[in-house]
Symmetry: C2
Subunit: 363 residues, 2 copies
């Protein structure tokens, strides 16, 4: 018997979210592979079987971009971390230093927090040039100033030649969470609109081209940027925003799949609405890569109730860096837990999670 | 003319602290060397010339074990980070997993904070055995449970074979700072007593012996342990405690030199009072290494006013893990900015900061 009242429909959505959240991929391998670091199914399996299994606690099990922590007096903070191992260390549009700041700032921002403070830990290869290290740290300083955060504590380790590919950087960040802010897959409902804050695919393609391993040339710069200003502008216009995530490793396809799988709802994207620069689209075509799977470092996906979607879009487009924002899809009740793309020709296809990553080591 | 009043003497101490804090070692190299990661003079020069220079802000310039941050409502938190690159990954008494938790917990604890939450970011080498990764993560879980903290957020990256010596772990931590707590070199005064929470040198020697590169065998286990319980017990008994630091890279000698150089005062240690296990002392003798320079992962140095020193010592000795605590020295006005050791034979010698580290990659 079909449920008929609004309360019954709501119950059914909550049941489905609960059952989908229990489904996690299984870890089948005996050794770590590059796919385990790619942000797709293999990564999820490793995190679940090794890290969550041993370290279990309610915040960690959320597997969010950051953990929400409540202090004794009720003030809430967000806490997040990321390691950066990108190769090459510098590429058109940015460097590992910019990524190390933006990655953590953006994780905090899409959790609804106001990013405030970062830590930075460096693992440096013996023999690394101090002049290059200075450039990378200056990029961090520029990015921190732009995002309005301070790097307040750090650590330096040096490892032998051949280890650490020059330098790895790990940042963690603390932000302040407004008491009112409530985000998460449990707030997403059928009929909500899916927004994208700008064009996709530039970061991953810029890094791949900078490696010089591909036989093509294109003028593509990384989009690495802080999104906290954009998020703040959007939340002002769309205070009921349900869910946000920055589309880094695995791209928009992967974050939409995380959304679909954590809600049991369908995420339906419109191919024609997806903003992609022509040079990115051209390079992806040549390489047979779908820009939906390519990493971004300054873009986020947001789910907003339909009655706030136009206001959210206008706020994004009116903020520097959000000019190309678009409504790119919607949330439906069916098919359960699936991301689908409505193509330009009126058809549709499933957008699955990748097991590995076509573009490794891009962040 | 000599100052005569208490106020004049206090002014003179403050002037000296200010002038000593301006003296920082200079960075002379063009490339990063292992010495830059060893925690001594070279590390300080690199941090100053590259990181502090570019990222300058008041919290970072403190160069403390953690940064003290004040939230909007006045609540204060401590924030700290450390990367761990120890080789081998497992050794008698612990593993990189234990170190990754204890290192950050202890940095927070010696800042006077109550450690609460950790982040953990893993850079894993392709091909690393998942069974070994599980053991390391279980060690983290055990250490977190013992210290009363939760690992609430994390990240996983995978790099190519040969790039990460198996696994590197970066943790960051957030703790709650009591509003009343005030610690720092600026509170240290001549006449204060120097306490050590237990025996020294076990961690560094255990790791070196586990590498199998030395021609000696000895039954030495790492002392890796959380010190937050010990710190809490001591602060209860000695609420005017001036300064604390955990004696990791570079050992007790290095942290005492940091204290002497940040205050302009003298730290006078008594050789006969320093607690060293006989097997550590024996191995150090054979290798020509001074245990004062060997890393610990569960010990801290504290400066306490003379009238609270006995109570602090009794509290430490009464707490599990603090049985071997000792008063090991005192703070004098002269010689300025110097650490000296009173030897068993009635002489004394300068305990200088090392440029590099006799025992690399021990944390």
């Amino acid at each position: 018997m079909e449920p008929t009242t609004a309360a019954e429909r709501e119950d059914r959505v909550l049941d489905r979210i609960a059952s989908f959240r229990k489904r996690r991929p299984r870890l089948l391998e005996d050794v770590v592979t590059l796919a385990h670091g790619a942000g797709g199914k293999s990564s999820a399996a490793l995190v679940d079987a090794v890290f969550v299994d041993a370290l279990r606690n309610p915040q960690l099990e959320q597997l969010g971009d950051s953990a929400a922590l409540t202090l004794a007096d009720g003030e809430r903070i967000a806490f997040s971390t990321d390691s950066f191992v990108v190769q090459p260390l510098q590429f058109p549009g940015g460097s590992i230093g910019n990524l190390a700041v933006h990655g953590t700032v953006n994780d905090l921002a899409v959790s609804g927090a106001r990013p405030r403070w970062l830590s930075a830990a460096f693992v440096i290869e013996e023999g690394f040039e101090i002049a290059q290290l200075r450039e990378i740290v200056r990029d961090m300083a520029d990015s921190a100033a732009q995002a309005g955060v301070h790097v307040v504590t750090g650590d330096t380790k040096v490892v032998g030649k051949g280890a650490a590919d020059g330098v790895y950087i790990c940042t963690a960040g603390v932000g302040v969470l407004p008491t009112a802010a409530r985000f998460g897959p449990e707030y997403v409902r059928p009929g909500d609109q899916v927004l994208l804050s700008g064009t996709i695919g530039e970061h991953g393609m810029a890094v791949m081209l900078a490696r010089g391993e591909l036989a093509i040339e294109a003028d593509i710069r990384s989009d690495t940027a802080p999104v906290n200003g954009l998020v703040h502008a959007m939340l002002g216009a769309a205070p009921s925003t349900r869910w946000m995530r920055d589309a880094t490793r695995g791209g928009v396809a992967t974050v939409c799949n995380e959304l679909a799988q954590s809600t049991g709802l369908a995420v339906i994207l419109d191919e024609q609405a997806l903003p992609v620069l022509p040079q990115v689209s051209g390079a992806c075509d040549l390489l047979g890569i779908d820009p939906l799977y390519v990493a971004n470092e300054g873009k986020f996906v947001a789910v907003v109730p339909a009655d706030e979607a136009d206001a959210a879009l206008a706020a994004l487009r009116g903020y520097p860096g959000g000019e190309q924002a678009a409504i790119v899809g919607e949330i439906l009740a069916e098919p359960e837990g699936i991301v689908a793309l409505r193509t330009a020709f009126g058809g549709s296809r499933i957008v699955d999670t990748l097991v590995g990553d076509p573009l490794p080591r891009i962040c």
